[in-house]
Symmetry: C2
Subunit: 537 residues, 2 copies
C-alpha cells in the first residue's frame, strides 16, 4: 500500500452514481426562484402559501447550557437558572435570536443556508477533510442511508458490511434484492486481509453481481458491536477502498461519545477540556483520511441533541451531494423547519466550541453508564482477560461463572469488548458444555441449535424481567439460505446478545445483571435438570 | 354504471402492492417494544439515548386563535392579546399543554398516538369514509407521494394523470422509467369518456406495460389548473376506477380552500359558519365516495398551518397503511417531534371545530386574493364568457384585447376558469394571429413554435419584472419523444401559463397584471415590428 499517493485529489467517482439517480433532473420550478429575488420583481410564479397566514407567531425554547450539570438518573433536568438559556424565534422587525418566518415556509431542499454553513464550520473544525466537500441537511440518518442507497446501489447489488450490522440499514435494502457481503471483525473492526482477499477474488459470474462498491460502516461505537476502529485499521480499510474503488458510507452517530477505557480513573465532576484537547482524544474519521472524496459521512443530531429533531447532514464529495439534493427535492424536501430553527438558534448561542463542550458533557454521562454496566458484570461474574480465560482465542474480556460440578473451575459464559464508544456492549455467549444446549444439539430435532437455545435463554431472562436484544437481529443478510448458525459460517456453540447501557438507571443495571446472572447460573452450572417450561411455570 | 353495488365493502386490493413493498418485513427490534412496558421490566434492549440528556427543557409557542383577524398584506400578524394563545410543552410533572419528552425521543414510525386519533376524528368529521380506514403520519405530501409510488408502482409502469399535472410528483417517478398516461380535462376535470375508452382499449403488448392501476389527482384547486372536480364527475371517475380496478391517490392540500365564485358578494368581515354549514359547502372527496377502500388520501398541514412543519397524514385502507408504515420505519421514521408536538398542542387547544373555523378564516383570505387577481384581469382586459368570446369552443372566461389594426374587434389573449379553490389561475394563451408567433411558425426554423414563442413571452414579462410559471412545467411526462406541442397532441397555436395569487400583495397584483398586459398589447395588437432583442435591449 506504500505506493498510494495521498496528495488530496478529487478523483472522478461519478460512475458510482446509479442509473436512477443519474436520471434525476433539477426541478424546473427552482430555476425561477433566482428571478424572484430581483428588485421590484412581481411574482405570480411559485406556489407558496402566504406567510402572514401561518398561525404561529413565535417560539421560545428553554435550553441547557453546554456545561449544565447533568444527572443521569433523572428524567428531567432541574438546573439552576444559570444553567438554562432562552432562545426566542419571533417574526417581524425584532424577532429575537433568529427570524422564525423563514423556517415556517417551504425551503429549497438543501436546508437553511446558515445551518449548512455551521455544519461546514463544524466539519472543518472536527474532521479537517483533505478534499473539497459539501454539506446537505437530511431528516435523520435513517433517511440519509435510504438516500445513499438510492444514489449508489442498483437492485441486486452486494453491499459490504460488518458481520454484525445495524438491522434498520439492512431492512431498507433487503426488499431491493440487495445482499450483504459480511466481513468478520476482531476488536478493531473488519479484518482487512479478509476484505482485500474477497474483493480481489470477486468472481462476477459466480456471484451473479459485480464487485461490491459500497462499504457501510458504523465505525465508532458500532451498533451492535460497540467496536471503534482505530486509526491504523482505518488507514488499511481506506487503502483497500482506493485499490478497489469502493465508496465508504460512514454512519457515525456516536462519534463524540468516545470514552477512556473502563479502568481509567474518572473525575468526580465534569471538567471540560479545551476544544483542541477534546478533539485530540477522538479517533480520526474516515472523512479526515479521505484524500479522494470517496467517503459519504452521515451526521446526526439524534444522539447529540435529541432524536425527535429528525435532523442531520451529509458531508460528501459535491458530485454526491448534488445528486442527493435532487433526491431530497422530490423525496422529502427540507427537514422540518422548527427543527432547523431550533438547532440554528442553539448552535448560534452555544457557538461551535459550546457545542463541542456539550458533547464532552454527554460523553462523561454515557461513560458513567458504561462503567455501571461493567461494574455490574464484575460483581455478578468473574471477568478475566481473554488470555487468562478458558477461551483465550477470543480477544477482549471473558465473564465466567464457577462450575458447581467440575471442582469449581471457571466456565466461560460470555466474552465482550470494553466499548470505547457508543451505547452498547456486545456479548458472545459460549454454549459449549451447557447441558440444556447439548440436549438440543444432540436431539437432532433442531435446525439451528444455537438459535433455539439463544431464544430459550432470551425468554428465560424476559420472564425474570430482563430484556436483551438477540444477536440474530444483527446478522448480515445473505439471503434466506444463509440464516442458521452453520449456514452463515458462524462459530458453532456461540450466540450473541446486545446490552444497551444508555437508558436504565444504575439500580436497574445492578438488578438486571443480577437477575440475568441467576438464569445464567441455572444453565451454566448444570443444575438444570427439567424442561424449562416445567421448572419455570 | 347503474349496476354497481355501492354497499360499503372492502374488496381485496392487496394485488396492487408492488413486489418490493410486499418484501418489507417489520423490524424485529419493534417486537421487543411491547415487552418493555411490562411492570418491573429492566431493559438493556432498545438503543435509545437517555431523555435526561436532551438539552431542550421546554417549548412555548404563541399562536393565533382560529378567528384572529388576518390581514393578507402584512407579513406579520399584530393581533390583540385576545387573538393570541400560548402553548406550553414542558417536561416533568407539570408539563403544561402536553409533555414534551415523548416528542424528543425516537418514535415508533406511526407517529404520536394522540395525533393519529385526532387525524381519525377529523377524517370522520369531514369525509365520513364509508369503508374502514387508518391514518398514518408522514413528513409532508412530497414524501407521502414518494412512499405511495414505492407502494404501488413497478418500474416502467404507467400512471394516470391529468393532462397538466404537478411537476414534483412526476419528477419523483420519471427516473424510475414510469410514464404518464395523461387525460384531457374540461372545466370539471378529466374527461371520463376518454378515461374509460383508454382503459378499455389498453393493449398491453402495444404499450409495453400492463394497464395502469394508479390514478394521481389533485382534485380540488388542482395545481396547476385550479380545477375542482364536482360531485357527479367524481362519481363517474370513481366508477371507472371500480370497473378497471384502479387505485385513486387523492393529493388534496387545497381541500379547505374552496371559494364561492368570483361574482358572489363578499362579507365585509370574516363570519365563521357552523362546522356543519362549512362542511356542506365543500365538495365530497373521493375518500367519502370510497365504498371499496381504493382511495389513498394524502393530507397535509402545509397549506392549512405552515409548510415548514413537514407534517401530514395518509388516510387509506389498512392494508395500504400497514405497508406504508413498514416503509416509514426504514425510510424516514417518525415525522419531526417538534412539529408533532406543536400540532397536537394546537389542535387540542383549538379543538376540531376550532381547526375547521381556522380553515374558514384562511379560505376567506385566499378568496380575497383570488378576487384581486380576477379584478386586475377585468381592469386590464375585456373578459367575456366563452360563448360570447372569439373562442367559444373553450369553456370558462376569455380575456381579450382590442385590436389596433382590425377595426378594434376583440382578439382573444387567454382563457381561464374562475378557480373555485386553491391558489392558481391557469391561463391558455392564443397565439393565432400574433405576428411574431406567425413569423416563428412560418420560418420553419423552430422545432416547437408554440414553446419558443411562449419562452419569448415569458422573458419579455420577466424583463418587465413580472414572473409567471410556464405551462410547460406541468406537461405530463410521456417520454422524450413527446415533448413538443404537436408530439403531445396539444392544441396548436396555444400555450399555458400559471398565475399564483397566494403571495403577491394587492398592489403587486394590480401592477403585475398591468405590466403583463402592456407586453401582451405589444404582441397581440401587432405593433410588434422589431426582433425582441433589439426593441427591449
Amino acid at each position: 500500500m506504500g505506493s498510494i499517493d495521498r496528495t488530496p485529489a478529487m478523483v472522478d467517482l461519478s460512475h458510482h452514481i446509479n442509473s436512477k439517480s443519474r436520471a434525476r433532473r433539477a426541478s424546473p420550478l427552482k430555476d425561477i426562484i433566482k428571478f424572484m429575488s430581483y428588485d421590484g420583481m412581481i411574482s405570480f410564479a411559485g406556489g407558496l402559501p402566504h406567510p402572514s397566514l401561518f398561525p404561529l407567531e413565535s417560539a421560545k425554547f428553554e435550553c441547557l447550557t453546554p456545561t449544565a450539570p447533568l444527572s443521569g438518573d433523572r428524567h428531567q433536568h432541574k438546573g439552576q437558572s444559570d444553567d438554562v438559556l432562552s432562545l426566542v424565534l419571533g417574526r417581524g422587525p425584532s424577532p429575537g435570536d433568529i427570524d422564525l418566518t423563514q423556517f415556517l415556509q417551504y425551503g429549497s431542499g438543501a436546508g437553511n443556508r446558515q445551518l449548512i454553513d455551521l455544519a461546514k464550520e463544524l466539519t472543518t473544525e472536527v474532521h479537517r477533510p483533505p478534499c473539497e466537500f459539501e454539506c446537505l441537511l437530511h431528516p435523520g440518518n435513517t433517511n440519509a442511508w435510504a438516500k445513499v442507497v438510492g444514489l449508489l446501489c442498483e437492485d441486486s447489488d452486494f453491499v459490504i458490511v460488518e458481520e454484525f450490522t445495524y438491522p434498520s440499514a439492512q431492512a431498507l435494502w433487503i426488499p431491493l434484492g440487495i445482499k450483504a457481503v459480511p466481513f468478520p471483525a476482531d476488536t478493531e473492526g473488519i479484518l482487512t486481509s479478509s476484505l482485500r482477499k474477497t474483493l480481489l477474488d470477486w468472481d462476477e459470474k459466480e456471484r451473479g453481481a459485480k464487485r461490491p462498491h459500497v462499504l457501510y460502516l458504523v465505525s465508532v461505537g458500532s451498533n451492535p458491536t460497540g467496536i471503534t476502529i482505530p486509526t491504523q485499521r482505518r488507514r488499511e480499510i481506506y487503502d483497500i477502498c482506493v485499490e478497489f474503488d469502493t465508496i465508504i458510507v460512514e454512519d457515525d452517530p456516536y462519534y463524540s461519545l468516545q470514552y477512556p477505557s473502563y479502568h481509567t480513573p474518572k473525575e468526580e465532576t465534569f471538567e471540560p477540556k479545551t476544544t483542541k484537547d477534546f478533539l485530540n482524544t477522538l479517533v480520526p474519521t474516515f472523512l479526515s483520511l479521505d484524500f479522494q472524496g470517496r467517503v459519504i459521512r452521515l451526521e446526526s443530531f439524534s444522539k447529540t441533541l435529541f432524536p425527535g429533531l429528525r435532523l442531520g447532514y451529509f458531508v460528501a464529495n459535491p458530485i454526491f451531494t448534488e445528486r442527493l439534493l435532487r433526491a431530497t427535492e422530490v423525496e422529502t424536501q427540507d427537514s422540518a423547519g422548527l427543527s432547523q430553527g431550533f438547532v440554528l438558534a442553539l448552535l448560534n448561542r452555544w457557538g461551535v466550541d459550546g457545542y463541542l463542550t456539550w458533547l464532552q458533557n454527554l460523553q462523561c454521562q454515557y461513560r458513567t453508564r458504561r462503567d455501571w454496566l461493567l461494574d455490574a458484570f464484575n460483581r455478578s461474574f468473574t471477568v478475566l482477560p481473554a488470555d487468562k480465560s478458558p477461551v483465550p482465542r477470543d480477544q477482549g474480556l471473558v465473564a465466567c461463572v464457577e462450575s458447581s460440578q467440575a471442582g469449581g473451575e471457571l466456565r466461560p459464559v460470555f466474552s465482550f469488548v470494553d466499548p470505547g464508544a457508543g451505547m452498547f456492549v456486545w456479548c458472545k455467549f459460549y454454549f459449549g458444555g451447557v447441558e440444556r444446549f447439548a440436549g438440543i444439539e444432540s436431539s437432532g430435532d433442531s435446525h439451528d441449535p444455537e438459535q433455539d437455545f439463544a431464544d430459550e435463554l432470551w425468554e428465560a431472562w424476559a420472564r425474570e424481567s430482563v430484556l436483551l436484544t438477540p444477536g440474530s437481529y444483527y446478522h448480515a443478510w445473505q439471503g434466506p439460505e444463509k440464516m442458521t448458525t452453520r449456514a452463515r459460517g458462524a462459530e458453532v456453540r456461540t450466540a450473541h446478545f446486545r446490552f444497551s447501557f444508555a437508558t436504565p438507571t444504575r439500580d436497574q443495571i445492578d438488578f438486571g445483571v443480577e437477575r440475568l446472572a441467576k438464569i445464567v447460573s441455572r444453565f451454566w452450572q448444570q443444575r438444570y435438570r427439567l424442561k424449562w417450561s416445567t421448572c419455570c411455570s
